[in-house]
Structures are given as C-alpha cells and as structure tokens.
C-alpha cells in the first residue's frame, strides 16, 4: 500500500508543477480536478478500508475531483477567458521557485521531529510543497480564477497533512471542512461572475480602487 500512496503523492507534485507552468485556465482546472481525485485515493491507501476512509475518499472525490472543478469550468465558459496573460511573476520564474520550494520541502521535512512511522515518508514534504505551490499561484497570478485554483491547491496541501492525522479530524468535522470548501468556491464563483459583469474582465488588477 505504501507504493500506491507514494505514487499518488508524486502525481500530486507533478500536478503542482503543471499548474504553475500552464497558461491555459481550462488545463489548470483539469489538473486540479486530477489532483483532487488522486488525493481521494490517499486515505484508502494509507489507512486501509473502513467506513471512515471510504466516506472520506468518496467525499473528497465528489467535491475536490468533480463538483468544484465543474463549478470553475462553468465559470470560465461563461466569461470566455482561456488564458492567463501577463502573470505578475512569469511562468518560468514561478516554475523555478516551485522547484526550489519542493526541494526545500524535502530537505526541511528531514529535519522535522517526526514520529518513526513518518520518517522518510513522502507525506510531509509533499504536503508542504503543495501548500507552497498553491500560495505561489495565489500571489503570482492576476486572473481571479487562477487565484481560486491556487487556493484549492493550498487546501489540498493541508488535506494531505490531515490524512496523516485521521483521528484528529472526526468524520463530521472532515465532512464539514469539505462542505465549507465547496461553499467557498461557490461563493467565489458568484463573485467571479459579478466581477466579470461589472469590469468585463477577470483581471484582479482592476480591483485596485480601494486603497489609502
């Protein structure tokens, strides 16, 4: 089972890089959907089959893998935006930063005081690297929709860490967290639509009237 989860985690890292380097919004959203679906396998791969892990996996697959990407895809279809133009930090520099951060995460995770079972595993470095990739996407892109994708990747990073601590998050809380994520993206989708109607673009550069 460890091989399976390691494979999943490596896939997650690959998706991070794809999202950082791609300028096509549709491809980015599909990548996040893939990442969500892969994450749904992780609880099963690490903790084995049980009611808790099955429900968690089903919930993650339904929301992170299907429903949320569908919401986002619908949003970009309506606003007819395909590409991220002129990011604040270019695609190559963000990729490089992402690579550095991923390497850093692996080195850093080795220094952390982990319990023996987690020593040398891929979980913690992947979680940190994904977290950072999401953050990078969030701050380096202008299109509001890419920022939502960044937020989702960041949440995925935290989700990976949470899988290690399945006991800490009882099913009810975990379900609530997923539901909140869905509602958050739903509300963001509505705001996206309003931004587009009002400004005829999803460029967050336009959102700069409020300042001192």
């Amino acid at each position: 089972m460890t091989e399976l989860s390691n494979l999943c985690l490596l896939l997650v890292i690959l998706v991070n890089f794809f999202a950082l380097g791609s300028s096509r919004l549709g491809a980015c959203i599909h990548a996040v959907a893939l990442q969500g679906a892969v994450l749904a396998l992780l609880p099963l791969a690490t903790h084995g089959l049980s009611v808790h892990t099955l429900l968690l996996a089903a919930g993650a697959l339904a929301l992170k893998g299907i429903l949320i990407p569908w919401l986002l895809l619908r949003a970009i279809r309506e606003v007819r935006i395909r590409r991220e133009m002129e990011p604040l930090i270019g695609f190559v520099p963000t990729l490089l930063l992402g690579a550095l951060a991923t390497a850093g995460a692996f080195i850093f995770a080795d220094l952390l005081p982990l319990i023996d079972a987690h020593q040398g595993g891929l979980f913690i470095p992947t979680s940190l690297a994904t977290l950072f990739a999401g953050f990078l996407l969030l701050i380096s892109r202008r299109k509001a929709i890419t920022q939502v994708v960044g937020y989702l990747i960041l949440e995925n990073g935290i989700f990976i860490f949470g899988i290690l601590l399945a006991e800490a998050m009882p099913l009810m809380v975990e379900a609530g967290v997923l539901l909140d994520l869905l509602v958050a993206v739903f509300v963001m989708g509505i705001v996206l639509d309003q931004i587009n109607r009002e400004f005829s673009t999803l460029d967050t550069e336009q959102l700069s009237a409020l300042k001192e």
Binding site: L112, P113, L114, I115, L131, F135, L138, A144, Q147, Y151, L154, E155, I158, F161, G162, L164, L165, E167, A168, M169, P170, V173, G176, V177, D180, V183, A184, V187, M188, V191, Q194, I195, E198, F199, T204, L207, S208, A209, L210, E212
Partner: protein, 476 residues
C-alpha cells in the same frame, strides 16, 4: 438542549426566510431570532453548568463572555435591520436575511464549540455567510471589497487549519492519543511536542489574527468595513472579531497548559503594538469616515492582543475591553451608517454638519467616538485603564508609554475626522433621510450599555471575567 437550540433555531429560520414571500415578514424574522437567542443565552448563562471534559458543545467562562456580548449586539443590529431594509427595498432582502441568520447560527457554534476543528468550521462559516452581506450594495467597490475579504480570510483560515493539525501532530509526537478536543489537548499539555506546538501556534495566530484584523494581516478590513452596510460593519467589528479573539484565546489556553506562554506572549504583544501603530498612522489622514472606523477596529484588536500578551491584570482588562469594544463599535457603525445614508457619501469632503442635519444620529456618532477613544465615564476608559495598569504593573514601562502615546494619537486623528463630520453647516439642505426610531434606538441602547459598564461592573460579571482570565492563564 438549550445550547443546541442556540445553533439550530437560527439555522431552521434560514429556509423560512428564503421562502417567505413577504418582504416585511422576512425582515422581522431577524429581531425574532435575535430576541429568542438573547433570551436563551440569558437562561443558559444562569442554568447550564460548565462543559464536562469530552463534550463537543458546551459553555465555559470564555464562551459565556462572548455570548453575553454577541447576542445583545446581534439583537440591536437585527432591530436596526428592519427599518434599514425597509428603506432599501430596491436591494431586496432575500440574500441578506438568510445570510444574517446563518451568521447567528455559526456565531453561536463558534462561541460554544469545545472541539477546535468544530470551532474552525464555525469560524469559516461566519466568513462565508458574511461575504454576500459585504456585497449588499452591488457596485464595483463592494465587489472588490468582497473579493479581498473572501480570498484573504479563506487563505488565513486555511493556515489556521494547518496550525490545528500541527497541534494534533504535537500530541501524536508526544505519544498521547490524537484529539482536537480542547479538554484532551489541555490535559496533554505538558507532553505536547514543543517544535510542533510552537509552529502550530504561529500558524494559528496568523490565521485567526487575519480574521481579527491584526496588522500586518488587516488588508481586507478597511475595504470590507468601508463598503459593507453599517449594520454588517457593526456585526463584523463587534461580533466576528470577538469570535476570532476567542479562537486566539483558545490557542493561548493550550499554550498555557503546555507551559509555553513565554513563546506565545511576545508574539501577541508584537502584533498588538504593530496594529496600534498602524492604526494611529492611517487614522491621521483618513478621508473616509467608514474606513476610519475600520482602523479604529484594528486599534482595539491591537489593544486586546497587547493585553493578553502582557498577561495578568492586563488580560483581565483585555477581556473587559472585548465587551466594551463590541458594544461601542455597534453604536459607532450603526450611527455612521445613518450618516452615510443621509449624505449619500462617506467622504469627509462631502459630509458636514451631521449634528444639525441628523440630531440623533449625529449626536450618537459623536458620543460613540468619545466612548470608543476611552473618554471617561464610558466603559472603554475603564478597560483601557485596566490594561495600562496591567502593563505598568508588569514592569513594561516602554510598552505602556508607547501604548499611551499611540492612544493619544488615535484620539487626535479620529477626533479631527469625527468633528469635521458632525460640526458645521450641513452640506445638503433637504435630506431624503431622517432619523427613525428603529435606526436610532438600537445604537442608543448599545451606547448606554457601554456607559453602564463604565460606571458599575456587576459582581457576577467581575467574577466571570476573573474565571475567564484564569482559564486563559492556564488555571482550571
């Protein structure tokens, strides 16, 4: 049972509010929910014992304090909302009322949850429920404010979730069963693994600090408070910030149980002082009186952080200050909302002579300014004085002096703007808006409550504050 009703009752009214076809009925659901909530809170405070270990929902002195302040504030805002929504029929209330009800439900849950994961969930729900409220005016500026609010607070609270997981890992590494129940974490305090605990605290402080609006994590605050309707601003500045402060206090409880207060306090103190400094600077040349209120909120959040960062008597003062600040902010935002409505502007350049044009709202705004900047005999004077006594008593002379200077700066900066708004000849002669009973009575009552707390603190409240302080400082 009674506690469950506090959460479920407003929640049950959400679909009712959404489906009800009558505009006035929908509006009146808010005071209905608020009144029942307040009655239940008063009953629960007297009759429900403190939570036993292992319970997910329950009361302790801290949650009692927060409920005690949030519930009357909510009722005040709910009453105000009736006439406000009547005045703004063109905007509709089919989004506003359900969102406000959901906000009340999440607020009760956040105040009473004893499981940190559940508390996180409730806090995130308050963010989501309030985002559509900020967007009430549906213009470019409010979209921008809503987007910043949603994104910054969502990312902040996501980091807080990571912090919670770090706390859980600290327990795992410490060799005790993993649990995010507050009672379990407190019991496991001494064996929690230090590195994870410290890292978790920093993340939690960043996450909940974002919701509180502590500098430098406050970027969303002036925008959101500036663009949201007055009553939403009142709920955010008085209610939501108190909840976020409660969340910070919960993490302080865990830190105290682990004996790691020495790590936590300087961080809080630093953020608090930075917030005070930043608020004082931006208050000086503020051309927009609603944004000015946001900086006032940042200032008071800073004071709370400084109080808890010093500890002892200052923590007691900070808890008292939380109550006073919420009530005063309620009055300030509601009366500012009236002035904004009447002059159809919140720029200082456009608004003059509020005292003449709106005798009641203008006077309330001016008095609430005096109250909020710590003029005696209002309650805030007392709580700021207590915090300062705590700071000097702890031997932190320079911190105390810095706080004094910054408070004075805030007074001058805010005073200049408030006087400009309220004095002089009105710029507009015939205003469409006039003071109405329900738009003036709630802020007046909130202000009277602040005044009352400045003159007399009931024995039971003092006891509750002392118990709450003991909890934060690691007692039982």
């Amino acid at each position: 049972m009674m506690l469950a009703a506090l959460i479920l009752l407003p929640l049950a009214l959400v679909p009712v509010a959404w489906l009800a076809p009558w505009y006035r009925v929908r509006s009146w659901l808010l005071p209905l929910a608020g009144t029942i909530h307040l009655l239940l809170v008063v009953l629960a405070l007297g009759n429900v014992p403190d939570a036993a270990p292992g319970e997910w929902i329950g009361l302790d002195p801290l949650s009692r304090l927060v409920l005690l302040v949030a519930s009357p504030l909510y009722l005040g805002c709910a009453l105000y909302a009736v006439d406000y929504l009547e005045m703004r029929r063109e905007r509709g209330n089919r989004t506003m009322v359900p969102c406000l009800l959901l906000f009340l439900s999440a607020l009760s849950m956040a105040a009473m949850s004893r499981h940190l994961g559940l508390m996180w969930l409730a806090l995130e729900t308050t963010t989501l429920a309030s985002a559509p409220l900020i967007y009430f005016n549906r213009n470019r500026l409010s979209i921008e404010a809503t987007w910043k609010y949603l994104l910054i607070c969502s990312v902040g609270i996501a980091l807080a979730m990571l912090g919670l997981l770090f706390f859980a890992y600290a327990a795992l590494r410490g060799g005790v069963p993993v649990s995010l129940l507050l009672s379990d974490l407190l019991a496991a305090g001494p064996v929690l693994s230090r590195p994870w605990l410290h890292a978790g605290f920093v993340l939690l402080l960043v996450g909940f600090g974002t919701k509180m609006g502590l500098a430098p994590l406050h970027a969303w605050k002036p925008d959101a408070y500036g663009e949201a309707p007055g009553l939403v601003g009142a709920l955010l500045a008085g209610g939501l910030t108190s909840l976020a402060f409660l969340a910070v206090l919960r993490t302080m409880q865990v830190m105290a149980a682990a004996g790691a207060q020495g790590v936590a306090r300087p961080l809080l103190l630093g953020l608090g002082l930075l917030s005070l400094l930043l608020a004082a600077l931006f208050m000086m040349r503020q051309g927009d009186f609603k944004r000015m209120l946001a900086y006032s909120s940042i200032e008071h959040m800073g004071l709370l952080a400084v109080g808890v960062g010093i500890g002892g008597l200052a923590t007691f003062g900070a808890l008292l200050h939380m109550i006073n600040n919420s009530l005063a902010k309620g009055c300030l935002f509601l009366s500012a909302g009236n002035i904004h409505r009447a002059f159809a502007s919140k720029r200082l350049a456009d608004v003059r002579g509020a005292l003449v044009a709106l005798p009641f709202s203008g006077a309330l705004f001016l008095t609430a300014f005096l109250a909020v900047t710590g003029t005696p005999p209002f309650g805030i004077f007392l709580s700021e004085f207590t915090i300062l006594r705590g700071i000097f008593g702890a031997g932190q002379l320079w911190v105390g002096l810095a706080v004094l200077v910054l408070l004075a700066t805030v007074f001058i900066g805010m005073g200049a703007s408030v006087l400009a708004v309220s004095q002089g000849e009105p710029t507009e002669r015939d205003l469409a808006f006039t003071d109405r009973f329900l738009l003036v009575a709630p802020p007046l009552l909130l202000l009277l409550a602040v005044l009352f707390l400045g003159l007399y603190i009931p024995e039971s409240l003092r006891l509750l504050l002392e118990q709450a302080q003991a909890l934060v400082e690691g007692g039982t």
